[in-house]
Amino acid sequence: MGISRRNFLKGSALTAGTVALTGKAAKASVDSPELRIKGLQTSTTVCPYCAVGCGMIVHTKNGKIVNIEGDTEHPINRGSLCSKGSALFQVANNERRLTHVQYRAPGSKRWEKKSWEWAMQRMAQLMKETRDRNFVKQEEIDGKTYTVNRNDGMAMIGAAALDNEECYLLGKFGRAMGVGYIEHQARI
C-alpha cells in the first residue's frame, strides 16, 4: 500500500475543488459557496461529540473561527452534521468558556484568578506531598511481602475528551506518579 501525495494531508487547506492536500492553512475556494468563505483560512477537524467521527471544515479569519460546517469529502458524513456537530461553532465562540486559571482556597466562597505559574507550582507541590505521604512501597498480602510502588493518595479521572496523544501523555504521567486509581468515562 503506497501513499501517494494525494492521499497525504500534511496540513489542512482547500485547493480548487477538493479539500486540502498540502500545506498548512491556505485560501479557501470552491468547496463552500464562494462568497461566504472568500478570503478565509481553512482547516479540517473531526467532531468532538459522538464517536461517528464526522469530518468538518473550519473557516477562520484573523485568528477567529467564523464558520464550521460538514466536510463534504469526508467518507463517513459527506458533509452532513447532526444538531451537536452543527453547534461546534458555539464551543469555539462562547462567552462561557474558561479563560483564566481559577483557584478556590479552602473554605472560600469564590474563585480567584491566578497565573499559570503560581498554580503549576502549587499543584506540583501538592501532588508531591500527597505522593510522598501516601506512597505504598510494599504491601503484606496473605502473609507475604510484595513490592507494589503505588501512590494511593490520589486518583485521576477522565480522558475521553482528550486526543490520543494526550491520553498517552496522561497515562504515562499517572503511571510514573505511581497512581493506581486511573479511570475514565469508558467505565461508566
Binding site: 500500500m1 497525504f8 500534511k10 479540517t44 477537524t45 461529540y49 459522538c50 464517536a51 461517528v52 467521527g53 477562520t60 467518507p75 463517513i76 459527506r78 451537536k84 458555539q90 464551543v91 469555539a92 462562547n94 462561557r96 468558556r97 479563560t99 483564566h100 478556590r104 482556597a105 473554605g107 472560600s108 466562597k109 503549576m120 502549587r122 499543584m123 506540583a124 501532588m127 508531591k128 500527597t130 505521604r133 506512597f135 510484595y146 513490592t147 507494589v148 490520589m154 486518583a155 477522565g158 475521553a160 475528551a161 486526543d163 490520543n164 496523544e165 491520553c167 501523555l169 496522561l170 497515562g171 504515562k172 504521567f173 503511571r175 510514573a176 493506581g180 486509581y181 479511570e183 461508566i188
Partner: protein, 796 residues
C-alpha cells in the same frame, strides 16, 4: 466495533438493541438507511419507542435489563430449528469443543460457586483436553458435553412464551424478530448488531454483549461485511482513550496492569501471556512480551535496560479492583487527598451522585481541567452545602477545545483521524497536553532534589521538543514506536531512530520502543497515516484504506478471515471483505486478519487470532459470572426472576442503598437526546442547543399520567433509594407499561445530561441511579433501577 460505520450499508438485517442511533449517532443512520434502501430490515429492540423505532420495520419492546432473556430465546429458536450456519459454526467457533464433565448448571448457578465471596471457581468450565493438551472435539456436534449440546440444553428453557413473560415483549413481534434475525443464517445473508450503553450498563452487561456475539457467531455473521458486533461509542475519543488505557486495569494496547504478585517482568509475562498447544492458533497475545517491553522502553527510554528488567519496578502494581465505583467508595471513606478531573464531570455522570459529591468534601485538593465551569468543579458550592465547611483547595484550569490544538482521535470504527489547530485557545486556556507537560516537568525538578522513590519520575523519558507545549507530532511518533538501535528484524535492516513499520516488528529485547503497540503502523517512515485523506475505494466496499488509519494495521473489518470458507472463498461473493487469489496466492480486499493461507491448506491459522484457542467462543470460561449468559433480574426489579430462583447476578455482591420493598414501584431508565451530550457541559452551555432542549424532563406513559393525575409539563418529583430530583413530566405514548408475569409494570425514562450549573440547568438523573456494577467490568447499572414519581416539586 468489529466493523465500521460505512460497512453498515452492507447489512441485510440491522438489529439496534441497547442503542438509538437515529437519536444518538445520527449520521451513522445514513448507513442504516442506505442498507434499507437496498432492502435491508431494521429491527429496533428498546424499552421505549425511540426515533430509531420510528424508522424500523420491526419494533419489539423490551423491559430494561432483560436482554439475555430476549437473546437466549433467539438462541433457542436458532438451535431448535437448526437455523445456524453450520459450516462456520463447526470450523470457526468452539461449538464442537468438549467441556469438562463436572460442568453443571443448577437453578441459576453454574458449578464452582462460592456464595460467600460471590465468586466462581472456573475449573469445571474448562475444555476437556487430550494427551497433547489439545481441546477434545466432536465435529458432529452430538456429544452431550460439546459446547453445542450444552448450549442447546441451557437455552431450551428460553421458550418464546417464557421469554415474553420476562421481557414484556408482545409474542407476535418477538417471533417476527426471531424470523428476521434467523434469516441471516444463510451463508450469503448477514445481520449486524448496533449496541450501546443500553446494553452495557447492567449488572450483567458483559453477558448481554456476549449473548449478542453468540447469536452472530451461530449465524456466521462475524467477520462479514455488514455484520459483526458493533458498539456505538458515545464520546468522540472514548475508543482511543480506552486503547490508550486511561483505566486502572490496562496499559496502552490492552496490556494488563501488573498485579502485586507479578514480582518481576518474567513473572508478569508468565501470568499474562496466554498459551496454547494448538500450532494452528495464532494466539496473538503470545506477543505480550514484545509489546510490554516496547512500552517500558517508550516510558523510561535509555534508563530501561535488560539488566534492570526494563524498569518494570517503576510501574505501580495493583492489589485490587480500582474501578470507578470502587474508587468513588474509597473517596467517600476519605481515601484520597487529591483528585484530577480531565474533562469529566462525575457529580452528573457517575452513579449515585449525591454520594460522590459528599465524598469530594473529603479532598485536600482537586484539579479540574475543562472548557467550562462544571458541576464537579464547583461541588463546594452545590445546593445544600456551605462552602465554609469544605476545606478543599480547588484548581480549575481552562482547557483548549478540539479546534484549538492538534492530535488524533479514534472513532467507533477504530479510525484514528487527525485534527488540526485552527485558532489559539481563548484567553489563557491551554491544551491538556500543555498541562500534563507542565506537571511532569515541575515534578521532575522537585523529585530530582528529594522525595519518595523518585526514579520513575526522574527517569521518565519526556522528550517532546522545547516548545511552549509538547510537540504532538513527536508524541504520535513515540506512540507508534521506533528502533532504539541498529537491528535486523525479519531479514530487514533498520537504523536506530527509524519508525517501526508495524507491530510485527516489535521486539522483547529492548531494540524497539512503542507507546501503544496497537497503533504501531499509524506513523511510519512514510509519514503520519492518521492524516491521510485518500478517497479511493477500489473494491467498492467502502473500506477507504487511504482515509486516515485504523487499528490494527489499517484492517477495516476485524476477524475478516471468518468471512471466507476454508478455501478462502467469500461466504458472500457479492460483498467480499477478503478473498484468496489462487493464482497470486495472496489475499485481496481488506487487510487480512493475519496473512496466512486459507484454512484448508498447511501452515494456516484459525481466524479468531486474539483468542488463545483460535475459535470464536460460544462458551467462554474466562468470565466472572458464567460461561453462558443467563437471565437475572437487575439489582432493583419489580418482579421475581421467572427463570430460576436466583434473583440477581450471583457474581455481584448486593450493595447498600438498594430497595426492592415496593416503595419504589416503577422501572427507571436513563438515556441521551440528540441535542445534548453526556454530563452536559459541552451542550448545556451552547445557546443553540439549550434553545432546542432547555429543561430536564421525565417520560411517562399515558396510563401512569392518568393514575398520578399528571398533565404534560407538570412538575414532578422522581425519587429512589439514593435521592430525589425534580423534572417536567412528558406524557407520551412512546412509553408503554410492560405486561410481565400477569402484572403491568410502568417505566419512567429520563435523560441524564442535566445538573445544577451552566446555562441550562435541571435535575441530575444520576441522583437516582445505584452504585452497583457489572460482574465483569463494574460499569454501573444505570439502565434499570426502581423509582417513584409524585406530582409537584420536591417537598422539603
Amino acid at each position: 466495533m468489529t466493523n465500521h460505520w460505512n460497512d453498515i450499508q452492507h447489512s441485510d438485517v440491522i438489529v439496534s438493541i441497547g442503542s438509538n442511533p437515529a437519536e444518538n449517532h445520527p449520521i451513522s443512520f445514513k448507513y442504516v438507511e442506505m442498507a434499507m434502501d437496498k432492502g435491508a430490515k431494521l429491527v429496533s429492540i428498546d424499552p421505549r419507542y425511540t426515533r430509531t423505532s420510528s424508522k424500523a420495520d420491526l419494533y419489539a419492546q423490551l423491559r430494561p435489563g432483560t436482554d439475555i432473556a430476549f437473546m437466549g430465546g433467539l438462541i433457542n429458536y436458532l438451535l431448535k430449528n437448526d437455523l445456524i450456519q453450520r459450516e462456520y459454526v463447526v470450523n470457526y467457533t468452539n461449538a464442537a469443543f468438549l467441556v469438562n464433565e463436572d460442568f453443571d448448571f443448577n437453578d441459576g448457578i453454574f458449578s464452582g460457586y462460592d456464595a460467600e465471596s460471590f465468586r466462581y471457581d472456573k475449573e469445571s468450565w474448562a475444555y476437556q483436553v487430550d494427551e497433547n493438551g489439545m481441546p477434545k472435539r466432536d465435529d458432529s456436534l452430538e456429544h452431550p458435553q460439546s459446547v453445542y449440546q450444552l448450549m442447546k440444553k441451557h437455552y431450551a428453557r428460553y421458550t418464546p412464551e417464557k421469554v415474553c413473560e420476562i421481557t414484556g415483549t408482545e409474542i407476535q413481534s418477538y417471533m417476527e424478530v426471531a424470523r428476521a434475525f434467523a434469516s441471516t443464517h444463510k451463508a450469503n445473508k448477514v445481520a449486524t448488531i448496533m449496541y450501546a450503553m443500553g446494553t452495557t450498563q447492567h449488572t450483567h452487561g458483559t453477558q448481554n454483549v456476549r449473548s449478542y456475539a453468540m447469536l452472530q457467531l451461530l449465524l456466521g455473521n462475524i467477520g462479514m461485511a455488514g455484520g459483526g458486533i458493533n458498539a456505538l461509542r458515545g464520546e468522540s475519543n472514548v475508543q482511543g482513550s480506552t486503547d490508550y488505557a486511561v483505566l486502572y486495569h490496562i496499559l496502552p494496547g490492552y496490556l494488563k496492569v501488573p498485579t502485586y504478585d507479578n514480582v518481576d517482568l518474567a513473572t508478569y509475562f508468565d501470568k499474562w501471556t496466554p498459551k496454547t498447544n494448538d500450532s494452528q492458533s495464532a494466539n496473538w497475545w503470545s506477543n505480550t512480551p514484545k509489546y510490554m517491553t516496547s512500552l517500558l522502553k517508550a516510558y523510561w527510554g535509555d534508563a530501561a535496560t535488560e539488566e534492570n528488567d526494563f524498569c518494570f519496578d517503576y510501574l505501580p502494581k495493583r492489589s485490587g479492583n480500582y474501578s470507578y465505583i470502587r474508587l468513588m467508595e474509597r473517596l467517600q471513606h476519605g481515601g484520597f487527598e487529591g483528585m484530577i478531573f480531565m474533562g469529566t464531570n462525575p457529580i452528573v455522570g457517575g452513579p449515585d451522585v449525591n454520594a460522590i459529591a459528599s465524598g469530594m468534601d473529603n479532598l485536600k485538593w482537586l484539579v479540574a481541567v475543562d472548557l467550562w465551569e462544571t458541576e464537579s468543579s464547583v461541588f463546594w458550592k452545590r445546593p445544600g452545602v456551605d462552602p465554609k465547611d469544605i476545606d478543599t483547595e480547588v484548581f480549575l484550569l481552562p482547557a483548549a477545545s478540539s479546534v484549538e490544538k492538534e492530535g488524533s482521535i479514534s472513532n467507533s470504527g477504530r479510525w484514528a483521524q487527525w485534527r488540526y489547530k485552527a485558532v489559539n485557545p481563548p484567553g489563557h486556556a491551554e491544551s491538556d497536553a500543555y498541562i500534563v507537560d507542565q506537571w511532569i516537568k515541575r515534578l521532575k525538578e522537585l523529585y530530582s532534589k528529594d522525595g519518595v522513590f523518585p526514579e520513575p519520575i526522574v527517569d521518565l523519558a519526556w522528550n517532546y521538543g522545547d516548545g511552549h507545549e509538547p510537540d504532538i507530532d513527536l508524541v504520535a511518533r513515540e506512540c507508534n514506536g521506533r528502533f532504539t538501535r541498529d537491528v535486523v528484524v525479519k531479514g530487514k535492516a533498520f537504523k536506530k531512530g527509524q519508525q517501526v513499520p508495524s507491530f510485527a516488528y516489535l521486539q522483547a529485547d529492548g531494540s524497539t520502543s512503542s507507546g501503544n503497540w496497537l497503533y504501531c503502523n499509524s506513523y511510519t517512515e512514510e509519514g503520519n497515516k492518521m492524516q491521510r485523506r485518500g478517497l479511493e475505494d477500489p473494491t467498492g466496499m467502502g473500506f477507504y484504506h487511504d482515509w486516515a488509519w485504523c487499528w490494527p494495521v489499517n484492517r477495516r473489518v476485524l476477524y475478516n478471515r471468518a468471512s471466507v470458507d476454508v478455501n478462502g472463498r467469500p461466504w458472500n461473493p457479492e460483498k467480499p471483505v477478503i478473498s484468496w487469489n489462487k493464482l497470486t496466492r495472496k489475499w485481496e480486499g481488506d487487510v487480512p486478519d493475519g496473512g496466512w493461507v486459507p484454512m484448508s491448506e498447511d501452515g494456516t491459522k484459525s481466524p479468531f487470532i486474539m483468542i488463545a484457542e483460535g475459535y470464536g467462543r460460544l462458551f467462554a470460561a474466562g468470565l466472572a459470572d458464567g460461561p453462558l449468559p443467563e437471565h437475572y433480574e437487575p439489582m432493583e426489579s419489580p418482579v421475581a426472576n421467572f427463570m430460576t430462583g436466583q434473583q440477581c447476578n450471583p457474581a455481584v455482591s448486593v450493595p447498600g442503598k438498594i430497595d426492592n420493598s415496593g416503595k419504589y414501584p416503577y422501572v427507571g431508565t436513563t438515556y441521551r437526546v440528540s441535542e445534548h451530550w453526556q454530563a452536559g457541559a459541552m451542550t448545556r452551555n451552547l445557546p443553540w442547543l439549550v434553545e432546542l432542549v432547555p429543561d430536564m424532563f421525565v417520560e411517562i406513559s399515558e396510563q401512569l399520567a392518568e393514575w398520578k393525575g399528571l398533565k404534560n409539563g407538570d412538575m414532578v418529583t422522581v425519587s429512589s433509594e439514593r435521592g430525589q430530583i425534580e423534572a417536567r413530566a412528558l406524557v407520551t405514548e412512546r412509553i408503554k407499561p410492560f405486561r410481565v408475569q400477569g402484572k403491568l409494570v410502568e417505566q419512567v425514562g429520563m435523560p441524564w445530561h442535566f445538573g445544577f450549573n451552566g446555562m441550562a440547568t435541571g435535575g441530575t438523573a444520576n441522583t437516582l441511579t445505584a452504585a452497583v456494577g457489572c460482574a465483569n467490568t463494574t460499569i454501573p447499572e444505570y439502565k434499570a433501577f426502581l423509582c417513584n414519581i409524585e406530582k409537584g416539586g420536591i417537598k422539603s
